[in-house]
Structure formats: structure tokens, C-alpha cells
């Protein structure tokens, strides 16, 4: 009476709504980019037309011109449209958008660490961010606001209570309104799927299992005829590189060091590269975990796999090639360092990356959607519209009913109305 991990995973929203083939992923990004670019162009054109009109009328009285407020300066975050009138707006390409989203994700990782949130919270927040930008473009919604709110929302979905005020106070010049403004936008783009499955616990599980085998307490599956002693002996003599012959048997204590080093290396990959690439969209958590483990210690990972599946099984070969593909994706990320990485090379890479990002952000400034710059105002406008649309009456009735009930309750209460419990609830 046990559901297999596969059964459980297949009913998850992560599998049903957020798993893609590379082609599907590319097509969705293409579509999002196209829609956003069209809109940016249309909105910028409209804004220019309005401004030209304003300038025409304003030119009559020269003094007025200086006071004409730029609409785009709503929140003062510098999103000015290009000065060249009439010139076509140069929008971001899909690749550029992806690059920017990757940058947002890296910043979000830093943000989570800065706030001292547990890694699952930050990891969930980053996946929210990636999911959000699958259906929205960085040209439409600003990365900083969105990632801040994604991390806030992730706290809530992971069951950690942080008030918007406490959270906003961690940053300079951020109000709780700014934190909350894009929340609906985000949950809508997430299609109200709040559950993100991570590979962290799986890695811990594999580590514990391997440690048991090292101690000679192997619990073999039906396909495996190895005894506890045989499995232990094989494991303790594992070569450090694939293809090499079995090495000299080391002591259990010695081997523990190798296990710990593997765990730490794999864990580091899961906490960086796995979050900052498309891994979650393309692979289930277990495969991401195995890929990170493979990067950390290939012979050990192959040994681990052999305890799960007979190496002769066709599934074994298929799984291994999938894991290798995932490992290639993870190791392709800039954050990945192996023993063969040269320090100077990495520094040069980081520097190049930095200047590329700076250029991109500069380009983004010129193709932002002018309608979506001030999310706080946009959010308020949304609520206002809705009230005007007729739910006002309902709300009024609701309020009256609540007041009536409250008054009645207070009248019933011999000791009079209850005193406010704390300052926050008073009034």
C-alpha cells in the first residue's frame, strides 16, 4: 500500500502545468515576446502621439512646457522612452529576455540569502519568477518588483509568516504597498499553482542511503543479488573517475569524507545552477538531484543507480542519458565550478557577463511598456474599476450587515465591547 514517487509526481501541478519539452518552452517564450513587443510599440506610439499633441498646445505658452509631467516617470524608476521621435522602438529579443530573467533569478537568490530565508523559500520564489516570465516579458514588468514579491509570496506558500511591512522594511525605499501591488498579477500568471517540488530532500535521502551501504547495511531491491558485504566492498573500492579500474579499498571513515564532499558539492549545484537554469521546467526533481550528484561524483552516482535499477535494464540506459543531459545543462551555468575551472578564466567570464548585462539593462530602459511602469497605481486603478463596475453595492451591503451584527453582539455582551487586544487590531 504505497504510492510510488512517480504516481505522486504525475498528479502534481508542476508536472501537469509546468513541465515542458525544450521546443514547447521556446515556443511559449517566442509568443510572450511577440505579444509584449507589439504592445510596447503600440503603447509607445500612442504615448508619443499624446505628447506631441500636448507639446503643440503647450507651445502657445512656453512656460507650461516645463511643467508637462512625463507619464513614464510615475514611480521615478527611470523608464524613459527613446528621445528620437518617430523612431521604431527596439525591443528585446527572446534570447535577451531570457538572459535578463536569468539575471533577475540570480538577484533573487542573493535577495533570499540577504533576508536569511530558508533555501526552499528562495528556491520556490525563483521558480515563481521563472514561471511568471514564461507568460510575461521583462519589457512589460520590471524584474526587481516582481522578484521581490515572488520571494514574499514564496514565504507564504512555504508556510512561513512574514508580514508585508516586516518584509518591506528589509529594503531601503520600499513600502509594503510596493511589495503587495504585483501579488495578484503573479498568482494569476502562476495559474494559482503554489506547489513547487524541489530536489533537496531527495539528495538528503540518497546521501543517507549511501551512508547505510557504506556501513554494510545494504537493503537490496529484488533485482539486486549483492549482499550487504559485497555492496559495501564494491563501494569502498570505487574509483574516483569513471572508467578507471576499482581502486584500493578505503576505510569506512575515509569513505565518509568522500560521501560528505559529494553531498556538499551536489547540494551547492542544487542551490545555484539548478535554480538558475530551465532545469525545473525540463526535468523532475529526482533527475535534477541525480544530475547534480553525477557532477559531484560520477562513479558513486553510477553505483547508486545500480542499486535502484539493474544496469541491463533499458530504463537504466534511458535514465542515464537523461541525467547526463540534465548534468550538461547544470554544468553549463556560469556558477558551476569544477576542479578543472581556472580562476582567471572564471573571472574573465564574470566580467564579460557583467558588461553584457549592463548593456541589456540599458537597452531595456528604452523598450519598457509605458503603461505598466507604476504597479502600485495600476493595482489601485484595478480595484477602483472593479468597484465602479457594480460590486460597490454588494460591498456596502456587506459592511452594513457586519456593522449591524457587531453592534448586536456588543449589546448582548454584558461587559460591553471587547477591548482591542493589541495596537494593530484597534479601531
Amino acid at each position: 500500500m504505497k504510492l510510488s514517487e512517480d504516481d505522486i509526481y504525475r498528479t502534481s501541478t508542476q508536472y501537469k502545468h509546468w513541465s515542458f519539452t525544450p521546443a514547447q518552452l521556446a515556443a511559449q517564450r517566442q509568443k510572450t515576446n511577440l505579444v509584449a513587443a507589439e504592445r510596447v510599440k503600440a503603447n509607445v506610439a500612442r504615448q508619443r502621439a499624446t505628447r506631441a499633441k500636448q507639446l503643440d498646445t503647450a507651445s502657445a505658452s512656453e512656460s507650461d512646457r516645463a511643467n508637462t509631467p512625463g507619464i513614464e516617470n510615475g514611480n521615478g524608476e527611470g523608464g524613459s522612452t527613446p528621445a528620437r521621435p518617430g523612431g521604431e522602438v527596439e525591443c528585446l529579443t527572446v534570447a535577451e529576455e531570457m538572459k535578463l530573467v536569468d539575471v533577475f533569478c540570480e538577484r533573487a537568490l542573493e535577495l533570499g540569502a540577504f533576508c536569511g530565508f530558508p533555501i526552499e523559500v528562495t528556491a520556490t520564489g525563483i521558480q515563481f519568477l521563472r514561471r511568471f516570465y514564461l507568460y510575461n516579458s521583462p519589457m512589460t514588468y520590471e524584474g526587481q518588483n516582481i522578484s521581490r514579491t515572488c520571494i514574499f509570496l514564496a514565504n507564504k506558500t512555504e508556510g512561513i509568516h512574514v508580514t508585508a511591512e516586516e518584509y518591506a522594511a528589509k529594503f531601503s525605499n520600499v513600502t509594503s504597498d510596493q511589495v503587495l501591488a504585483p501579488e495578484y498579477l503573479i498568482v494569476q500568471a502562476l495559474r494559482f499553482n503554489f506547489d513547487v517540488r524541489h530536489p533537496f530532500r531527495g539528495l538528503k535521502g540518497a546521501h543517507l542511503e549511501l551512508w547505510e551501504i557504506a556501513k554494510g547495511k545494504f537493503a537490496p531491491l529484488p533485482h539486486d543479488s549483492r549482499t550487504g558485504e559485497a555492496a559495501q566492498a564494491e563501494m569502498l573500492a570505487l574509483p574516483t573517475k569513471t572508467g578507471e579500474p576499482a581502486g584500493k579499498r578505503v576505510s569506512v571513515n575515509e569513505f565518509e569524507k568522500r560521501l560528505t564532499a559529494t553531498y556538499n558539492a551536489a547540494s551547492a549545484v542544487l542551490k545555484t545552477a539548478a535554480l538558475l537554469t530551465d532545469a525545473y521546467f525540463l526535468y523532475p526533481p529526482s533527475q535534477i538531484m541525480l544530475a547534480a550528484h553525477l557532477l559531484a561524483d560520477e562513479p558513486l552516482t553510477l553505483f547508486y543507480l545500480s542499486t535502484k535499477l539493474p544496469p541491463s535494464s533499458p530504463i537504466h540506459a534511458k535514465l542515464l542519458s537523461t541525467i547526463r543531459a540534465c548534468a550538461t545543462l547544470l554544468s553549463s551555468h556560469r556558477s558551476f565550478t569544477s576542479s578543472s575551472t581556472i580562476k582567471e578564466e572564471k573571472e574573465a567570464r564574470d566580467k564579460k557577463e557583467k558588461s553584457a548585462v549592463a548593456a541589456l539593462i540599458k537597452k531595456l530602459r528604452h523598450c519598457r511598456d509605458p503603461d505598466k511602469l507604476d504597479l502600485v497605481q495600476l493595482n489601485q486603478a484595478h480595484k477602483r474599476d472593479a468597484v465602479q463596475d457594480g460590486s460597490l453595492e454588494e460591498q456596502k451591503a456587506k459592511r452594513r450587515k457586519l456593522e449591524r451584527e457587531k453592534a448586536k453582539k456588543e449589546a448582548d455582551d454584558f461587559w460591553g465591547p471587547e477591548l482591542p487586544k493589541n495596537g494593530a487590531k484597534a479601531g
Binding site: S4, T11, A23, A27, V35, E38, Y135, T157, Q188, F192
Partner: protein
């Protein structure tokens, strides 16, 4: 893989036909996404006509348009519940739970709503209320489209003395409940508010676990959880003693309480305060000691609760036989296994389903033959609108609840 002994709880084994009526909604939702995904070279003409809506807004509107909202069934501090149906098929009924925007709540979308949506979206099982869809309305209210469950709840059932039922009926209800709990735990979800009025009954008599507003996933070892969960009558002793590390066993205790209530047709362990709750429990099960429950004296509230108390011994088997004749000896054995004070000794949800009680005679009553009551849509409204952990007493006295909508045929 093995199957549960009674009624396989696996909803849709992978690879089988997905789109039977129950899953049609989800399949459809998927199809919509797939369509939008499957466009390899999007046409430029996608902007006009979308009214300037984001892709996400369009998807949301698409979901919202699939449902028609009807009369208001109930309103609480937390939500308003409406009856409703699918637009394309008015005979497909749903309940629409609109989460209220709380002006006092300054932290955006409420945690209860997030938890409920998060867990119900992941859990798909015949004994767990189905979440058909979620959408938001213009005024930024979130609405949950839930399964329509018109026949009241388990608490109403035992309270309604115009209905008589026997041991086989209890076994049937209890089994559906235990499968729901087992499924939650297999998915690493703790419900943390199991009680009679969170167990709703569908038109065909199936028991469905609802209200996941207090649910959470299993914590990593060593990480604290709150002990202030589960409605008091159903709260296990370790939580009352301030334990912050726990697992599925807390739900098993609550489940045991619900089964006990079904058998005696009254609250099993009622009390007025948390402190009294502990003493009510100890009246039946004795005061735990290091001997009966290793480690208990280290729990936060142990000293304050039992430091100076005279020892109290648990009731013997005769108490159980006298009080629970409807359960039979095997049923009593199961119940006592679910209600062990020491959570380490308590049965797990899996062990509960492996108990011989389920397969021994009498066989559980078939769903279609179970006694039913006309709880009516109103009850569903009342049950769904509550915030987790709320106790309501004397509900049956309210006239409105006696209205019979249950006779309403699909």
C-alpha cells in the same frame, strides 16, 4: 506497488484514460494550456482583440467564463459560498467559494487561501473534495470552484436522530475518511483540522475531506511547526503539551475522534478550554508517564499540566466495550490504536488501512445503500465558509439549516 485492502484509493493510474468525467475539468484546463503552448509560430495578430490583457489575464478570464455563479449559500468571516455550475452544462454543479478580501489584513492574499489552493491543487482522490479551478475576479477576489457536496457532513449525520445507522455504515464512512487521510500523508500533506464538519457528503454518499486552510507539508526533521492547530476536541495530547515536531499521527488522532463520535453519536472528548481538553483526554486514557510515553515529561507544558497531579489510570477494555458496541471488538482495537497517547505508538494512516477491522464481517455498507440525509446546499455553504479551527456549537438550532435542499436532484 500494492493496493489498499479496501477500495483502491489510487485515483488515476498513470497511462489510463484521463478524461473521465471527474477529471474532465482538469483535462480541459490542460488542453487550453496545451493549445496556447502548441502554437509554434505565433501570429502577429494576437494583440488586437485581447483587450490589452496579459496572457495570464486571458487565461484567468477563460477559466472564469467556464462557470456560472448562482445563489449565495452561506457567508462567514473568511469566505462567501455560492452555488454554481459549468456554463456549457448546467447540470454539472459546483460550489464557488469566494475568499473575502479582508481590509484589516495587510499582507495580501491570506495564508488560509494560499494553503487551501496549494494543497487541493495537488491532491486528487475520490475522498478529498475536488478543486475544479481557481480564478480571480476584477476586484481581486480569489474564487475556488469546488466539488458540489449537497448531503451535509458527518457531524450533522450523527446529530440527526431521525436517521438510524449501524456498524456496517460506520465502517463504510470511517473507511472513506481513513483513505483520504492516508492519501494526504502519502503526499506528505498534514491536514491538521480533521473533524466531523470538515467531512462533507456528496450526492452519491461519498465522504470527502474538505477545508485545507490549516494544512501544511511535512516539515524537515528538526524544523519547528506550530502546535496551535486542529480544532480543540480533535487535538491530540502531544499538541496540547506543546510539541512542535510531529507527523501524520496528529491527523490519525483526530480521525479516531471522528470515528468514535460516529459510534456514540455525541462528541467524544468535548471541553471548554485547552487545559480542560487535556484533562478530558486523561480521564479516558490516564495521565501519561515516562513509562507509558517515553519523552513526555520533556514536552513544554508537561510540568505545568501534570507536575503535581495524582496518577490517573486509563480505562480498561470494559469501558470501550460498553461505550462502543457498534464498533465490535476489532473496531475497538483499531480505535484504541488510533488514539494512543504516545504518538510513536499510535498507528500510522497506512497501518490503519491494514487493520483487519475493514475486512472482517460485517462488510462496509455500499455507498448507494448508506443512510443519507438532506443536509442541503446550505450546510455545504456553512461548512465551506468557515475558517480552519473554528468551532460552532448549536448550529442545528438555526432554522435555516433545516431547509432541505438535499432532495434536489442533479
Amino acid at each position: 506497488m500494492t493496493f489498499s485492502p479496501v477500495l483502491s484509493p489510487r485515483p488515476n493510474p498513470p497511462g489510463t484514460k484521463m478524461a473521465t468525467n471527474a477529471t474532465a475539468a482538469k483535462a480541459k484546463a490542460l488542453a487550453i494550456l496545451n493549445n496556447s503552448r502548441a502554437v509554434p509560430s505565433p501570429s502577429v495578430a494576437s494583440t488586437p482583440g485581447d483587450g490589452g490583457l496579459d496572457l495570464a489575464e486571458q487565461m484567468n478570464d477563460e477559466v472564469r467564463r467556464r462557470f456560472v455563479s448562482g445563489t449565495r449559500l452561506g457567508e462567514g468571516t473568511y469566505a462567501i459560498v455560492y452555488s454554481g455550475h459549468y456554463r456549457h452544462d448546467p447540470s454539472k454543479l459546483v460550489a464557488i467559494k469566494k475568499i473575502k478580501l479582508n481590509a484589516d489584513f495587510k499582507d495580501g492574499i491570506a495564508m488560509d487561501a494560499i494553503r487551501e489552493i496549494k494543497f487541493l491543487s495537488e491532491l486528487s482522490h475520490p475522498n478529498i473534495i475536488q478543486l475544479h479551478a481557481v480564478f480571480s475576479t476584477k476586484d481581486q477576489n480569489i474564487s475556488l470552484v469546488l466539488e458540489h457536496l449537497p448531503l451535509g457532513d458527518l457531524e450533522m449525520l450523527w446529530k440527526n436522530h431521525s436517521i438510524s445507522y449501524g456498524g456496517a455504515d460506520i465502517k463504510s464512512w470511517a473507511n472513506m475518511l481513513c483513505q483520504a487521510v492516508w492519501f494526504c500523508h502519502e503526499n506528505y500533506v498534514l491536514h491538521r483540522d480533521i473533524k466531523g464538519n470538515n467531512l462533507l457528503i456528496s450526492a452519491d454518499g461519498t465522504v470527502k475531506l474538505a477545508d485545507f486552510g490549516l494544512a501544511r507539508s511535512f516539515a524537515d526533521p528538526g524544523r519547528d511547526m506550530t502546535c496551535n492547530v486542529i480544532t480543540r476536541f480533535y487535538r491530540p495530547p502531544e499538541l496540547l503539551l506543546g510539541c512542535r515536531h510531529y507527523g501524520g499521527c496528529v491527523d490519525v488522532w483526530s480521525t479516531g475522534c471522528v470515528i468514535a463520535e460516529l459510534a456514540i453519536r455525541e462528541f467524544f472528548l468535548p471541553s471548554e478550554t485547552d487545559i480542560q481538553q487535556l484533562s478530558v483526554i486523561c480521564d479516558v486514557f490516564g495521565i501519561p508517564t515516562e513509562e507509558t510515553w517515553p519523552g513526555v515529561s520533556k514536552l513544554r507544558h508537561y510540568e505545568a499540566s501534570f507536575g503535581a497531579a495524582a496518577p490517573k489510570h486509563p480505562h480498561g477494555i470494559n469501558y470501550w466495550k460498553q461505550r462502543f458496541p457498534l464498533l465490535g471488538e476489532d473496531g475497538i482495537d483499531l480505535l484504541r490504536g488510533m488514539l494512543r497517547m504516545d504518538p510513536m505508538k499510535r498507528l500510522s494512516a497506512t497501518q490503519v488501512l491494514q487493520h483487519p477491522y475493514w475486512t472482517n464481517a460485517p462488510r462496509p455498507t455500499k455507498k448507494e445503500n448508506l443512510p443519507k440525509q438532506g443536509g442541503g446546499e446550505k450546510t455545504m455553504g456553512e461548512d465551506l465558509k468557515r475558517r480552519g479551527g473554528e468551532i460552532e456549537t448549536g448550529r442545528l438550532d438555526k432554522v435555516a439549516r433545516k431547509l432541505d435542499f438535499g432532495a434536489m436532484k442533479k
